[in-house]
């Protein structure tokens, strides 16, 4: 064989969005392409992104046509779940040795229905380094978290209850504690965060002494609640979702406190105020400011 004649096939290593695009371009220009990925499927990281810079396009919408095209292209052969062991030769004449990991599934028969995934009894394999990287806790925090976890021991599906307990004690969810919760309950940290960020009752940043909730429910809305929220934002100098610099008030917008008959409704530290007007706001806040001052004076005395 003439050594200078090059072979018309290409190996693309890595089946992410870049790899797929290269494979498609090469295949369209007539090359035979081997598309290799070490994961069980091509696609890479992009599938887990929501939006992409700078156009804010939905990631899946960009990549799914390419996935399908790669799968169907007659010039592309996809090799997944395999690593490169060695590469020998020179440009035009490479031979590559691959290690194919066992899949335990007959790819020719699998239809991708996903039933086996739902039925596999082994779940919740922590995806982070088990013990390494767990943050140190203060002794008091450590005691509290052990107490909370102990109380919920044996409860089925305890995660939400544990988060609620932490939220009740700390008024927010400190990240270090969440890492410990994930570790102890053997739940992926991502799942802990997905719940912690899903529910409105949880906050990942510290809150003030008093949480002010402004109802923006329908009944309150038609009675001018948005103006009340604006007025509170001006008065406190913060936006909804933020906490004042002195850590006294956190401002939150909520949807219906179940007192719609008294709309518009505002609660401060759990106390409910009905039929609130913009002009009445300073008086309400003053009471809580005073209460804190009194407390401080007592502490000093």
């Amino acid at each position: 064989m003439n050594d200078t004649k090059t072979v018309g096939s290409v190996l693309v290593i890595g089946g992410g969005i870049g790899g797929m695009q290269s494979a498609l371009d090469l295949a369209d220009s007539g090359f035979k392409v081997y598309l290799l990925d070490s994961a069980p499927a091509i696609g890479g990281t992009m599938a887990s992104l929501d939006k992409t810079f700078p156009t804010n396009d939905c990631a899946m919408c960009v990549m799914s046509p390419k996935l399908v095209e790669c799968g169907r292209h007659l010039n592309i052969e996809i090799i997944t779940w395999a690593d490169v062991e060695s590469v020998r030769g020179e440009p035009g004449h490479f031979s590559v040795k691959l290690v194919h990991h066992p899949r335990y599934i007959d790819v020719a028969k699998c239809t991708g229905c996903g039933l086996c995934v739902a039925n596999c009894p082994v779940r919740n394999i922590p995806h982070f380094d088990r013990d390494a990287g767990l943050p140190e806790l203060k002794e008091e925090d450590s005691k509290r978290i052990t107490g909370i976890l102990g109380r919920r021991k044996g409860q089925r599906g305890p995660l939400v209850s544990v988060l609620q307990d932490i939220n009740d004690e700390y008024h927010y969810l400190p990240e270090d504690l969440l890492r410990h919760v994930a570790h102890h309950l053997e739940i992926p940290l991502s799942e802990v965060f997905s719940l912690a960020t899903f529910y409105n009752a949880f906050s990942l940043t510290p809150r003030g002494k008093y949480t002010i909730q402004v109802c923006l429910g329908t009944a309150c809305h038609v009675k001018g609640a948005p103006r009340i929220l604006d007025a509170l934002e001006r008065e406190l100098g913060i936006r909804a979702g933020q906490t004042t610099g002195d850590r006294l008030f956190s401002l939150e917008a909520v949807r219906c406190l179940g007192c719609c008959g008294l709309a518009p409704v505002v609660t401060v530290g759990g106390d409910v105020f009905g039929e609130v007007t913009q002009a009445g706001i300073p008086a309400i806040l003053a009471e809580y400011r005073k209460a804190v001052e009194v407390e401080n004076v007592e502490i000093k005395a």
Binding site: R156, L195, T218, H221, V254, G258, L262, A279
Partner: protein, 605 residues
């Protein structure tokens, strides 16, 4: 306390001590917000000061008429109960001296007869029959008003099939929104083969503007417990969950107390009433997500999984909590059950319309005179609810629309006020029954702004699983915002209708499936308002900030300077004792001046 037997219920219910004067302060969350706590303390002080004989002070849940809170009821031996409203410290002293001690009703503080008849006259309390009359923390008072009698009947004299038959015959439909026949749901659940079955009480009440579930649990928690035991017997369930909204701390406390008391009395737990039936309830606190009200995501949340809805089938009656058959019903549905069993299916199905039987609780709120919870027979007209019970529009403004069904519902205009309310009629006009929120809107409500409000709510609450719902609500919100800010284009209305169709068709659960309703119904009935925003750059109701200006009517201004001191940006200026003027350059349109003006001199245009 010892465990009760069926005959013990009669004993507790028998004539109590009697011959006493009972003062009941109504302390639901709404009452407390209006100052009921202070009223109670004052009464206690009076009692300990005067030490009258035979006066009992009791508390109860909400009495229903929230706009006249704080309220209390005084019941002297052998006399009809008297309802006092809008209480203050002075009034309490007077009522205590004149009525409680002296026996003469203080007429000027009593709820006037016109309002009494208007608000309470057309109501037919079944679910709310105990509201304001019993102390929710006292199980004996519940039993004394026929409580747990329906359960005793079901457990001792009826077979599970009989109970299901009775509920089916009564025509009871789910009160949580969709109106699925309850008896049929129970039957399906019972028929699914399994060793364990569960029931769930859906107390997630996410619909902003509806609060009947909170009120039922706060004022009559045992009705829910009793209903669940009956349902459990019928279905063959051994455990029940109550999923309660996180925003309702008082309801949580009442329900915990109620289940504890019921357990001590042997009305819950093992061997209920000595009949050998075992059933217990655990309470689960929500964490604030609207989509958790949807049954499949509620179940996911209960199991500690991310609360995303699932494809149905399988329905929860086939595979629910922990994969077992589960019957899930709304608070109000459960609370209706004891009455139906006690009084019979025929009694219940006599009330209501052809397809919708019984009564429904509505929360009549917004711009009406009497706001509160009302329980009316199905088939009543909207006009009766808004004008007879609600007393008409506040400040005698003009009626514009009533919104039913929460974020999944729609706005109903004046021309349809004579519509008899039932599940079918409401969906015919583009709204739904929903959980019973009824927000009345006057001429100063902008319908485009209302649609925008609901879309803002929904885009925040969409769980994000279906892109049609996640992106569709977002895009509709953006278009509506543009219209409200005067950037709307003529083709926007048709675009909205087109997107609405796509979101409706392509979303998995009811949230996305009904999300376009607020937009479609407002376009259907109030298209002219959309057009005014887009082509004339005007907000007819004077709500949308970018399209309005505040001005002071020089004829009406009395130069009281109240607005000048209120304005936080000093936009109002003028010479002393002369009509004032608003500087449009400085004004940030917060509306504080029009709120404080006593002479209606601030004009919005």
């Amino acid at each position: 306390m010892s465990k009760l037997k069926p005959e013990d219920l009669e004993r507790i219910a028998g004539p109590s001590a009697g011959g006493i004067t009972k003062i009941t302060v109504h302390m639901g969350t709404c009452g407390i917000a209006a100052g009921a706590e202070k009223i109670k303390d004052l009464l206690l002080a009076h009692i300990s000061e005067k030490e009258p004989a035979d006066v009992v002070l009791s508390t109860s849940g909400c009495a229903g008429l929230c706009s006249r809170e704080p309220m209390m009821t005084v019941e002297r031996r052998g006399e009809a109960p008297v309802r006092y409203v809008d209480l203050t410290g002075d009034k309490i002293r007077k009522i205590f001296d004149t009525h409680v001690l002296g026996g003469n009703v203080v007429e000027e503080c009593v709820l006037p007869e016109v309002a009494e008849i208007g608000f309470f006259g057309k109501q037919q309390p079944i679910v709310l029959k105990n509201r304001g009359l019993i102390d929710p923390g006292n199980i004996d008072e519940y039993i004394a008003r026929n409580g747990y009698r329906g359960m005793a009947k079901a457990l001792t004299t009826m077979k599970p099939e009989d109970i299901i038959g009775e509920i089916k015959d009564s025509g009871l439909r789910g009160r949580g929104g969709a109106g699925f026949p309850t008896g049929k749901k129970w039957e399906l659940c019972r028929k699914t083969h399994s060793d364990i079955r569960y029931i769930i009480c859906n107390g997630d009440e996410g619909d902003p503007g509806a609060y009947m579930d909170r009120s039922i649990i706060e004022s009559d928690p045992h009705a829910v417990v009793e209903g669940m035991v009956i349902g459990a017997k019928a279905i063959g369930a051994s455990h029940g969950y109550v999923y309660l909204r996180s925003e309702y701390p008082l309801a949580l406390r009442q329900l915990e107390q109620a289940t504890e008391d019921a357990r001590e009395y042997g009305l819950l737990g093992d061997d209920i009433l000595g009949t050998g039936f075992n059933f217990d309830i655990s309470i689960h606190r929500g964490a604030g997500a609207f989509v958790c009200g949807e049954e499949t995501s509620l179940i996911a949340s209960l199991e500690g999984r991310p609360p995303e809805p699932k494809i149905r089938p399988p329905f929860p009656v086939e595979s629910g909590v922990w994969g077992k058959p589960t019957a899930i019903n709304n608070v109000e549905t459960w609370a209706s059950v004891p009455q139906i069993i006690l009084n019979g299916a025929a009694w219940y199905s006599d009330i209501g319309t052809e397809t919708s039987k019984g009564t429904k609780v509505f929360s009549v709120v917004g711009n009406v005179k009497n706001t509160g919870l009302v329980e009316v027979p199905m088939g009543i007209t909207l006009r009766e609810i808004v004008f007879d019970i609600g007393g008409g529009i506040q400040n005698d403004k003009a009626f514009k629309a009533v919104q039913t069904g929460g974020p999944s519902g729609g706005c109903i205009p004046e021309s349809l006020l004579d519509l008899p309310i039932d599940y079918e009629k409401l969906s015919e006009v583009g709204s739904i029954m929903g959980s019973g929120g009824m927000i009345v809107m006057d001429e100063n409500t902008c319908m485009v702004d209302v649609a925008r409000y609901f879309l803002d709510f929904l885009r925040g609450e969409s769980c994000g699983k279906c892109s049609s719902c996640r992106e569709g609500t977002e895009v509709m919100y953006e278009i509506l915002t543009a219209i409200c800010e005067g950037r709307g284009k003529p083709e926007d209305i048709d675009l909205l209708i087109e997107i609405a169709g796509a979101v409706k068709a392509a979303s998995l659960c009811g949230l996305g499936g009904t999300a376009p309703n607020p937009v479609l119904s407002t376009i259907r009935y109030f298209r002219d308002e959309y057009e005014a925003h887009i082509s004339a750059g005007r907000c007819p109701a004077g709500v949308c900030k970018s399209l309005i200006n505040y001005r002071i009517d020089e004829e009406k201004c009395k130069a009281c300077m109240l607005c000048v001191t209120t304005c936080s940006v000093s936009a109002i200026r003028g010479e002393a004792k002369q009509p004032q003027r608003i500087d449009p350059e400085v004004c940030m349109k917060c509306g504080a001046c029009s709120e404080v003006c006593k002479f209606d001199a601030v004009i919005v245009e």
